[in-house]
C-alpha cells in the first residue's frame, strides 16, 4: 500500500512538473530568420460507385472505380528590408480510374513592398480572396472561381499590380482599407481571367464600421462588362454571425448570397448559405443552376473525444431539387497529422444536376501531414 502510495505521489509530481514546463530553448529556436517556410503533403483515395443513369456512364460501363490524389504544397517567404518575397508552390498528382495526370503550379509568386503602415505595393502573381461567403463569392472579381465542394483548397492567383492603403481611426469607422488592382490579359498572360487582350482595373474598399465588415468592389475592363459588388459580415451575438454578398454586371447579370454561422452551446456549428444567380451557366460547370442552399453542420468533440469532429454537409439545388450529401469525421490528435474520412451520395432525378452525375456515392479518405 505504502509502495503504491509512493509510486502514485512520484507519478503525480512528475506529471505536475512536466505540465508546467516551458523550455526557453523552444523560444530560442524560434529566433527570427530572414526566411520562413511551411507546407504539407496530402494523399487522398476515393472509392466511387457509378451512376448507371448518367450520360457519362457508357464511357465507364462498370459499377465502381478508384481515384487517387496527391498534393505537395510549399510556402516560402524571404524578408529583405521593406521587401517580402513570397511564393506558394503546389505539385499535384491525380489518378482517376487509372488515368494519370500531374500538374505543377505557382499559386502565388510576388514581391511585397511596405512603404509604411499605411501604404503597400504587391507585384506578381497573387490571390486576392475577396468576399465574405464561405461556399460562394460573387464579388471575388479578381479571383479564380471557388469550388463550393472544396471551398478551402488553395487557389491560383493572377499576375497583377496591387496597391493597398490601410488606416485605422478611433471612432465608429474603425478601419478603412483600399485596394487597387491592375491586370493585363493577353493570350499567354492571365489568359483565363476575363478575355484576351484586355486591361482590367479593380477597386475594393473595406470598412469596419460599428463592428460591421463592409466591402465595396468595382471592376472596370476596357473590352468587356464592368462589375459592381458589395458584401458585409457582422456578429449579431458572440455565437451568431451573418454575412452577405451582392454582385451585378453592366449586362444585367447579378448574383447574391446570404449566409449565417451559428454556434450552439453544445459546440455544434451551423453554416448555411443561400446563393442565387440570375444567369444559368454552362452545364459542364459545377453549380450552374440559379438557386442553391448549402448547409454544413459540424459537431466538435462529440462524446468528449478531443481533436475529433463530425460533420454533415448538404448542397441543395433548389431548382431541380437534387442534392449532394457528405457525412464525415476529422481526427487531428496525432501531431501535424490530419485525417478526414467521409461518405457521400448524390440524390435527384436522372436529368437533375446532382442526379445526373457520374458518381452515385463514394467514400473518401484524406491524410495530410504538415511540416
Amino acid at each position: 500500500m505504502q509502495k503504491y502510495f509512493l509510486v502514485t505521489c512520484l507519478y503525480s509530481s512528475f506529471m505536475f512538473a512536466d505540465d508546467y514546463s516551458f523550455d526557453f530553448k523552444e523560444l530560442e529556436k524560434l529566433d527570427i530568420k530572414t526566411y520562413e517556410y511551411n507546407g504539407y503533403i496530402k494523399g487522398e483515395h476515393k472509392y466511387q460507385n457509378l451512376n448507371k443513369a448518367s450520360s457519362s456512364f457508357p464511357s465507364k460501363d462498370k459499377s465502381n472505380m478508384n481515384s487517387y490524389f496527391g498534393e505537395a504544397f510549399f510556402k516560402y517567404k524571404y524578408f529583405y528590408d521593406k521587401f517580402i518575397f513570397q511564393t506558394e508552390l503546389a505539385a499535384n498528382y491525380e489518378n482517376i480510374d487509372s488515368v494519370e495526370e500531374d500538374t505543377y503550379t505557382a499559386n502565388q509568386l510576388f514581391i511585397n513592398y511596405k512603404y509604411n503602415e499605411n501604404h503597400q505595393l504587391n507585384l506578381g502573381k497573387k490571390t486576392a480572396t475577396w468576399g465574405k461567403g464561405y461556399f460562394f463569392n460573387p464579388i471575388a472579381f479578381v479571383d479564380r472561381k471557388k469550388d463550393p465542394i472544396n471551398p478551402e483548397t488553395n487557389k491560383e492567383g493572377y499576375t497583377q499590380v496591387n496597391y493597398k492603403y490601410n488606416k485605422t481611426f478611433q471612432n465608429d469607422l474603425q478601419n478603412i482599407t483600399f485596394d487597387a488592382v491592375y491586370l493585363k490579359t493577353t493570350s499567354d498572360f492571365n489568359e483565363d481571367f476575363y478575355n484576351q487582350n484586355s486591361n482590367t482595373i479593380a477597386f475594393k474598399t473595406y470598412l469596419l464600421y460599428k463592428d460591421i465588415d463592409i466591402d465595396f468592389a468595382y471592376l472596370y475592363n476596357d473590352k468587356l462588362v464592368n462589375k459592381f459588388g458589395v458584401d458585409f459580415s457582422t456578429n449579431l451575438q458572440t455565437n451568431f454571425e451573418i454575412h452577405g454578398e451582392y454582385a451585378k454586371s453592366d449586362d444585367g447579370l447579378y448574383s447574391y448570397l446570404l449566409g449565417l454561422k451559428y454556434l450552439t452551446d453544445f459546440d455544434l456549428t451551423i453554416l448555411s448559405e443561400y446563393f442565387y444567380q440570375n444567369d444559368e451557366l454552362s452545364k459542364t460547370q459545377s453549380f450552374w443552376d440559379n438557386r442553391y442552399f448549402i448547409n454544413k453542420f459540424t459537431q466538435k468533440e462529440p462524446l468528449d473525444i478531443l481533436y475529433f469532429s463530425i460533420y454533415y454537409k448538404n448542397s441543395y439545388n433548389l431548382d431541380d431539387k437534387s442534392h449532394q450529401n457528405n457525412l464525415g469525421l476529422i481526427y487531428t490528435k496525432i501531431k501535424n497529422l490530419s485525417i478526414d474520412f467521409s461518405v457521400g451520395k448524390n440524390y435527384g432525378k436522372n436529368s437533375s444536376e446532382f442526379g445526373s452525375k457520374l458518381i452515385d456515392k463514394f467514400t473518401w479518405l484524406q491524410v495530410k501531414y504538415s511540416f
Binding site: 506529471m15 505540465d19 508546467y20 514546463s21 516551458f22 526557453f24 523552444e26 523560444l27 524560434l30 527570427i32 520562413e36 511551411n38 504539407y40 510556402k75 524578408f79 517580402i84 503602415e117 499605411n118 490571390t127 480572396t129 464561405y134 471551398p151 478551402e152 483548397t153 488553395n154 493597398k164 490601410n166 488606416k167 485605422t168 474603425q174 478601419n175 482599407t177 473595406y206 469596419l208 463592428d211 465588415d213 459580415s233 456578429n235 451575438q237 458572440t238 455565437n239 454571425e241 454575412h243 454561422k261 454556434l263 452551446d265 456549428t269 466538435k300 468533440e301 468528449d304 478531443l306 481533436y307 487531428t332 490528435k333 501531431k335 501535424n336 497529422l337 490530419s338 504538415s370 511540416f371
Partner: protein, 237 residues
C-alpha cells in the same frame, strides 16, 4: 450625512474600477508581445501542445499567431473588442469566429486565449476583503461577452488573480481558472506564469496556459486590422 454617503459610494466606485485596472496592469503592459504555450491534457494523461505569439495594444486589441505545431502554423486570430476573426493560411482569408469557439480544442476557448483587459469587459458588482485576499464579483458590461459573471479571488499583496470562476448568464459555472507560479518576467512584470483550467463540462480534461516571455513593445494600430491578419509573423521582426 447624505454628502458623506455619496462620497463613500463615489470613492468605492473609483477604487473598485481602479482595482480591475490595477489587475490588468499587473498581468500585461498596455502594449506588449507575449509568447505562451497551451497544453491540453486528456484524462489518460496524453498531451497536445501549442505555441503562440501574441501582440497586444491598449485594452481591446490583440492578435495571436500559432508558431507550433506545424499543422497550425500561420493560423492567426484578431480581436478588436468583441469582434474576432480567424485567418486560415491555406484559404488566405479571414473569417469571423465567435469568442466561445475554441480553435485549439480543449477547455480554453477563443476568449480565454485572447482575453482582453478585465476592466474593458467587466464592472465590479461587489468586493470583499478577507485576510490576504480580495473577492470580487464582476458582471459583463454587455451580453456579447463570453462569461456573464466572474468571481475573482485576488491576492492582495501582488494584485494578481489566484482563482477565477466563470459563469454563464444562467448562473451555470462554465469553468474555473487557477493562476499559479508567480514569476518575474523583467520590466517590472511580476505575475502568475501559469493558468490552469478545469470545467464541469469537460470532466477529466485539463488545459494549461504557460507564459514564457512578456515584453513591452509598441505596435501601430494598423497591426490590428483585418488586412494585416495574414502578416502577424512580421510583428516579431
Amino acid at each position: 450625512m447624505l454628502k458623506l454617503f455619496l462620497i463613500i459610494c463615489f470613492t468605492t466606485f473609483i477604487f473598485a474600477d481602479n482595482l480591475l485596472m490595477q489587475i490588468d496592469k499587473k498581468l500585461a503592459p498596455r502594449s506588449s508581445e507575449i509568447y505562451k504555450k497551451l497544453i491540453n491534457i486528456e484524462p489518460d494523461g496524453t498531451k497536445k501542445e501549442f505555441l503562440l505569439y501574441q501582440a497586444k495594444k491598449d485594452s481591446d486589441k490583440m492578435v495571436s499567431l500559432f508558431l507550433e505545431p506545424e499543422s497550425e502554423k500561420g493560423r492567426s486570430t484578431l480581436r478588436l473588442g468583441e469582434n474576432m476573426w480567424l485567418f486560415l493560411p491555406e484559404v488566405g482569408k479571414a473569417i469571423r469566429v465567435t469568442s466561445m469557439q475554441s480553435i485549439v480544442g480543449g477547455v480554453f476557448n477563443n476568449s480565454d486565449i485572447m482575453r482582453l483587459d478585465f476592466s474593458t469587459e467587466y464592472d465590479i458588482v461587489s468586493q470583499e476583503e478577507k485576510n490576504d485576499e480580495i473577492t470580487l464579483t464582476v458582471k459583463a458590461k454587455n451580453d456579447t461577452i463570453a462569461y456573464d459573471k466572474l468571481i475573482m479571488s485576488v491576492d492582495k499583496a501582488t494584485t494578481t488573480p489566484k482563482e477565477i470562476q466563470c459563469y454563464s448568464s444562467t448562473d451555470m459555472l462554465i469553468k474555473t481558472l487557477y493562476y499559479k507560479d508567480l514569476k518575474d518576467f523583467g520590466n517590472e512584470i511580476v505575475r502568475p506564469a501559469v493558468i490552469e483550467t478545469s470545467s464541469p463540462l469537460y470532466k477529466g480534461y485539463k488545459s494549461i496556459m504557460v507564459y514564457g516571455k512578456i515584453t513591452p513593445k509598441i505596435f501601430s494600430d494598423e497591426a490590428f486590422t483585418l488586412d494585416n491578419l495574414g502578416k502577424v509573423a512580421d510583428l516579431r521582426r
